[in-house]
Symmetry: C2
Subunit: 310 residues, 2 copies
């Protein structure tokens, strides 16, 4: 990382510290991005004592000779029990990512004032989120809405209902992790390719699952059998596997989305696939940029710390 | 393996050659077992040219100086495309494992006459079995029945309808493989133990899935969230994961078993778990010993080769 002059306009630092990576933004007082950095040093690679050094190494070039501590607002898995410093879950229903709920972290570095956004938990059925609450705060702020249905696809997809500016209920679905396990480590790995998308196979699989979602574990093997018996190609098989899992997720989440507009929060092809599947299901999907919403959520927290609207 | 004298009463050799292991039996003309052997040299460890040498190494001590070839009847994955010699699937509906459908394999060893029992395929929905057809033949013969519902739990569970002595329809469910992937390689691995059974957690999970089978992929994460929020222990979490997957399988297979007696074919704890889950679902389950049925099926094929009833 090359040296850059310290940033005179630096007002605060935004951090999204996930399981596998870390994103850091230098922010000015107007919410503008002065600089940014990324690293592969996610939670899964760090022990608690290592976080501060990683962060200081990345941001010290922005700090220069300043003596007043710069606020650093962190969301994501850094707040988990096995992360930097535990930020205990807040209980739904609650407003997502409010300034008053931040957990302060002591640092040896006096130029930083670090606080972590806590995740949200739900009692019945038991469920937890960390990181998504900040994107939800960003969605409420950026779209100027109080209510909505949100689909956040990923390793562990979240489906969230927002009502009156609060997270009222949510569900985690392990679709992304199951896809990776089945595509890379199960008997289906002989059958599915590692690339292309076959829209017809994907849509057919989504349709199958919407019609009979209870058949998922039985339908998975049809991916293999289809290759053995019907010469289905690697792209078709991969898209069918994806369609079965995404279709099962959408079928299970029908009470969340039926008759509503769904904000699909994420990045690139994953958002496209979920929008495609929701269209097959007859739902209305609006793509939303996950990284932009994370930054919008952290900015809303920062604005609240200054006495602004939260 | 110690040397034993050649077996004067040897009439034929039974072989169950699976993905991960190999079982061989020395049989007399009355269907009695004279000797047996096992090996870890399953299909996944062998290339096609290696099978004959492995078999000869195991059985040559039984052959002695005889010059007439001894019939060897093989079932299982040795007949797959990537196995010893492909035995093309027969199409359901069909009688399982008949003498007339055997595929002969040429060998350099003149004291053996090897033939392989073919698997069975189904067109719509596409599905395949290899090995189970022999257990089904054994069930028909040993129980002297023509009709039945069969649950064969395992890495890839099979649910089979037998009608008029034929396999009329079947479905593969990837329950066992999904359990292994989720318990050992997913985020749930931090939560599930590697041992004990918690009957209450298991039964509750089965009940949950029977009530809402479409919720499987959403319910899986509750195993992790339950440990984080409710201090559910490793045994309870493991049993809940197992109960969710087995319950989802039984819910999906309801049209197979509703109002019928289910023959549960397998070994040990797995058969117990499925019988437990079927009882929760209100079904009637009869445990059946899988290895004994494999041998009964191969014996039925051998009897047919001699002109007996098949």
């Amino acid at each position: 990382m090359s040296e850059t002059p310290s940033l005179a306009g630096l007002d605060w630092i935004a951090v999204d510290w996930g399981t596998s990576s870390l994103r850091v933004w230098a922010m000015d007082a107007q919410g503008g991005v002065l600089d940014r950095a990324t690293s592969r040093e996610g939670m899964s690679t760090l022990w608690p004592q290592a976080y501060e050094a990683v962060l200081v190494r990345i941001v010290s070039r922005w700090l220069g000779e300043r003596t007043e501590p710069v606020p650093v607002i962190v969301c994501g898995m850094a707040g988990a029990r096995q992360g930097w410093h535990e930020a205990a879950y807040r209980q739904a229903p609650c407003r997502p990512a409010t300034p008053g709920s931040l957990t302060a972290v002591e640092t040896a570095e006096t130029r930083l004032a670090v606080s972590i956004v806590p995740g949200i938990c739900q009692d019945d059925p038991p469920d937890v989120m960390r990181g998504e609450e900040t994107q939800l705060a960003g969605l409420l702020a950026a779209r100027n809405i109080d209510d909505g249905v949100v689909c956040m696809p990923g390793t562990h997809s979240k489906w969230v209902r927002l009502a009156g500016g609060r997270v009222s209920a949510f569900t985690t679905v392990m679709t992304g992790e199951m896809f990776a396990l089945l595509a890379e480590r199960s008997v289906l790995r002989h059958t599915v390719g590692d690339g292309g998308h076959d829209a017809v196979s994907f849509a057919q699989a989504v349709t199958d699952m919407l019609a009979a979602p209870e058949m998922l574990t039985a339908a998975l093997f049809s991916v293999r059998a289809g290759a053995l018996l019907d010469d289905a190609g690697p792209d078709a098989c991969r898209s069918r596997l994806s369609g079965l899992l995404v279709g099962a997720e959408i079928a299970a989440m029908r009470p969340h989305w039926a008759g509503k507009t769904v904000h699909v929060v994420g990045a690139g092809p994953l958002v496209e696939r979920y929008a495609e599947a929701l269209r097959v299901a007859g739902a209305d999907a609006v793509p939303e940029d996950g990284e932009a919403l994370t930054l919008a959520g952290l900015s809303a927290v920062r604005a609240g710390m200054n006495g602004g609207k939260t």
